[in-house]
């Protein structure tokens, strides 16, 4: 408060916070209201670009899961996987685990196809979002709702 510059610098964080807030809103995926942490994680993955909901990306996961400790999930993107047009990366995000990230995979034209499978842990019934990064700078998005009857023991 004693510094002569403090009134000016004092307004900066406020402006930044407002701008950051607007930016976050603008970056949120086009779907329904998603928890902020997932939206932020997706924005970090896309570098701020808004992913497009697309039929070219499929997120294959059971819609009803008995055991959230091990849920099979496959993400595939319809892509020629050539030097000119390929998938650079695939990531999976969740809304209601303690952390929004599940996996991020990097691939390239040498992959031949854009398809990964793994097994996830889900702490609760929730929506999952898969995002693919394309070589032309676009990002594609697919979503799936999963109902979990026995949650993964993430929080005791």
């Amino acid at each position: 408060m004693s510094s002569p510059t403090s009134p000016r610098s004092g307004t900066e964080p406020g402006r930044r916070a407002l701008f950051g807030g607007l930016l976050t809103l603008a970056l949120a995926p086009p779907a329904e209201a998603t928890p902020e942490a997932m939206a932020e994680a997706i924005a970090r993955f896309t570098g701020g670009a808004t992913p497009e909901l697309s039929a070219a990306i499929t997120l294959d996961i059971p819609s009803l899961v008995e055991n959230g400790n091990t849920v099979p999930v496959t993400i595939a993107v319809d892509s020629p996987m050539t030097e000119a047009a390929h998938v650079r990366a695939i990531a999976l995000f969740n809304q209601r685990n303690p952390q929004p990230q599940v996996i991020e995979a990097r691939l390239g034209p040498w992959s031949g196809a854009a398809r990964i499978s793994t097994r996830a842990r889900l702490a609760d019934s929730q929506r999952l979002t898969a995002v693919a990064a394309l070589s032309d700078g676009r990002f594609l998005l697919a979503e799936a709702e999963v109902v979990v009857t026995l949650a993964a023991c993430l929080e005791g």
Binding site: V71, Q99, G112, A120
Partner: protein
């Protein structure tokens, strides 16, 4: 030593897209689970998986606590030439495990 299961086709024709399946024995302790006394168990997960084909990185995945125990991962590769696939898992507490498999392209 962690046990692993790796499935790579023994042979592939040139240009064929092969699927590689990997699994490694690992608890993937999330860091969010309390023990009997209520203290959080320290996180112990694999954070990174890589696959190199003759020293060239062909697949990489960053894993988080939301990956199930004994991480299973499949991915694809276009078989262009015979060579050696090197699989590496790295994680908390200096975990590191490396396996190699030969790929024969006809």
């Amino acid at each position: 030593m962690a046990r692993t299961l790796i499935r790579v086709p023994a042979t592939a024709t040139r240009g064929e897209v092969i699927e590689i399946r990997t699994l490694i024995q690992h608890p993937m302790e999330t860091g969010y689970r309390p023990d009997a006394a209520g203290r959080l168990l320290v996180r112990d997960i694999i954070t990174r998986f890589t696959c190199h084909f003759d020293n060239r990185l062909v697949f990489e995945a960053m894993l988080h606590s939301a990956i199930a125990a004994n991480p299973y991962l499949t991915f694809t590769l276009r078989a262009e030439a015979s060579g050696v696939l090197t699989f590496a898992w790295e994680g908390d507490h200096d975990f590191r495990h490396v396996e190699t498999r030969a790929l024969t392209v006809t």
